[in-house]
């Protein structure tokens, strides 16, 4: 055990520390050394869960590094992004929704739908330059409809997005009941190309796109009134209204953003699989929700960071990687681990928020 606490830990800790403290927010805690500050960080509903996640990620990565040969490499770390680029984009959209206290169950089905649309339109010879915008517009419109149902008709987000999920999944089957493979040269090119980072490391274009989305989301959430209103709704919709914030518009827009992100994630997923299949990405909404929760966003809304969700995705990814290295290709352990992590973080959230109140 003591070995685990040696050099690698201290090397990586500051990295994660920077990652957890997004710009534009209070400087409390981040970068301070005293024990008291560390305790305050851990017990704050804002920074507590995400700090735990950061430590957890580092711990798993370090344990993996000691257990398996070749685990502790830059490429293994980069592959977490390569393999989960689409999930990062999904988690970004989901973060917006959950920050307002809502939830979006439709994202998995929308990923599948956008894959189906892409595959079928490309098959008939449409250009990717047209197909991708069409997908993004369609999924955003679907998000808009969900948002209107939630806000105007006061349908619970869970039910409204459930309807969207049924609709998207059903439309998949309407398009085709079997897998359609993609042979479009642009898509193939995007799927196979790697961007070298030197020293034998490389990433895919999808990673770049995902990181751009993350950067945009960070800016929107922390630098714009819209973003702060998202937090305000989660902190107290009534208070937000009384403060004169554009609550209605914002509440609808978060579902549009989630729809857009799902569409984009679908496109990235197609880059990864090079096919459209109606049964694909079943249960992905749970992965996205789990990533967001593990990343420190409170399910009741109001607290959380996009970068935390990215960290959540990385935790899920590193668990998957460990299991791959372990050699038991048992995907069930992933589910059990995710469930256990969900439980831990939900109870952690409960404790932290109860203590504050």
């Amino acid at each position: 055990m003591t070995k685990l606490l040696e050099a690698p830990t201290t090397n990586r800790q500051p990295r994660q520390g920077r990652g957890t403290g997004p710009r534009g927010t209070a400087p409390t805690g981040s970068g301070r050394r005293p024990l008291a500050a560390a305790f305050g960080l851990l017990t704050s509903p804002k920074y507590g869960p995400v700090t735990v996640t950061g430590l957890l990620f580092v711990a798993i990565f370090v344990i993996g590094g000691f257990r398996y040969r070749g685990f502790f490499s830059g490429q293994v770390f980069l592959n977490l992004f390569v393999d989960n680029a689409y999930l990062i984009v999904l988690a970004v959209g989901m973060t917006f929704v959950i920050l307002t206290g809502g939830i979006d169950l439709s994202v998995g089905a929308v990923v599948a739908l956008s894959g189906m649309i892409a595959a079928s339109l490309l098959q008939t010879g449409w250009s990717p330059g047209v197909v991708i915008p069409i997908i993004l517009v369609l999924t955003s419109v679907l998000g808009l409809l969900v948002g209107l149902m939630v806000h105007v008709f006061k349908v619970q987000p869970f039910i409204a997005t459930l309807a969207a999920m049924f609709l998207a999944r059903g439309l998949c089957y309407v398009i085709s009941q079997s897998s359609i493979s993609i042979t479009d040269p642009t898509f193939v090119q995007l799927a196979v190309s790697r961007i070298p980072l030197g020293a034998g490391l490389s990433i895919t274009p999808s990673v770049i796109i995902a990181l751009v989305v993350v950067a945009l989301a960070v800016w929107v959430l922390h630098g714009t009134r819209f973003g702060r209103t998202v937090y305000a709704i989660g902190g107290g919709e009534q208070s937000g209204l009384l403060m004169g914030l554009p609550v209605a518009r914002t509440k609808v827009l978060v579902y549009v953003i989630s729809g857009f992100c799902s569409g984009l994630a679908g496109v990235l997923f197609t880059f990864y699989t090079l096919s459209g299949y109606p049964l694909t990405a079943i249960g992905t909404e749970l992965d996205a929700i789990a990533a967001v929760v593990i990343g420190g966003t409170l399910l009741t809304g109001g607290y959380g960071f996009v970068l935390g969700s990215v960290l959540g995705v990385l935790v899920l990814g590193v668990i998957q990687t460990i299991l791959t290295f372990e050699g038991t290709l048992s995907s069930w352990w992933t589910k059990i681990f995710i469930g256990a992590l969900l439980l831990v973080f939900i109870i952690l959230q409960k404790v932290l928020t109860a203590r504050r109140r």
């Binding site: 006061k154 349908v155 459930l162 049924f166 309407v174 048992s330 352990w333 589910k335 939900i346 109870i347």
Partner: protein
Amino acid sequence: MSALAKMASNRLFWPVVMLLVLFAINLVAFPGFFEITVRDGQLFGSLIDILRNGAPTLIIAVGMTLVIATRGIDLSVGAVAAISGAVACSIILGSPAPGSLATVAVAITVALLISLVLGVWNGFLVAALGIQPIIATLILMTAGRGVAMLITEGQILTVNSPPFKFLGSGFWFGIPVAVIIAAVVFGLAALITRRTALGMFIESVGINPEASRQAGVRARGLLFAVYTFCALCAAIAGLILTANTAAADANNTGLFIELDAILAVVIGGTSLAGGRYSLLGTLVGALVIQTLVTTVYTVGIPPIATMVFKAAVVTIVCLLQSPTTAEALSGFRRRLAVRSGKGVAAS
């Protein structure tokens, strides 16, 4: 006219209308829809198929109705169904005599007992820790499939056990066993909640938790009870589903059944906001869903596209139940009520 209005204000009115419309569509597309024939002393026909295929959904929906009445929800029923199927199949497979009645009895008992544990777990998270139901049950929904796969070791467990298969595809007195089980569960739930004070307490806690607390109703025990019952229902449904195909598939047994069950409850007129529930409404709701599936099939649409129609039904029902839609109506109704209330007070 007023008789019609009275009928329309009954909460069962719209679900029943929906069901009748579906029947009518079926009748047009397939004139023999209502025919029930007796072959080898067993009943056959479209209606029997609807009942039999709808049985698992109905069973889960019964448990879900009670959970929803307490302002809760249980997303984990699909996973629980998968676990119970996996447990039963692995016990049967592991026994030297897979075809013996005793083995099947043990398998079923163990599967049901495990579901009780899972139900208590959900109840614990909701009632003792005070976690929102949707989130609390999300945990088991995620991890449950993994547990089921752990039990089946990622395989699809195929069993060759006539007594077990009987559960899913057998007939008893000419009636499919699944339908009989569903009827028993439904009847028991109705009996227990309506013949004891349980139903009243469930509704009272769902309508006004604080008033119920002040009246001395113990919500905690009640929540434990409904979540445990719901898990039990899920396990029974899981056993039927597994027996029907004689195979436990941890990934696909009961996939999306939580959504169908919730849908059945909502169509049946029980509000997701909790309170008054109607088991009869849930029955009609479950039938509507199953008939919808059958209709899609008989009309010749790819059966798999059923989900689009389900989406349409969810949307319509939600918009009908929406306070925004209801405001105009209830405003009118309230004005009437106030007027009559004043009249009485004055007299």
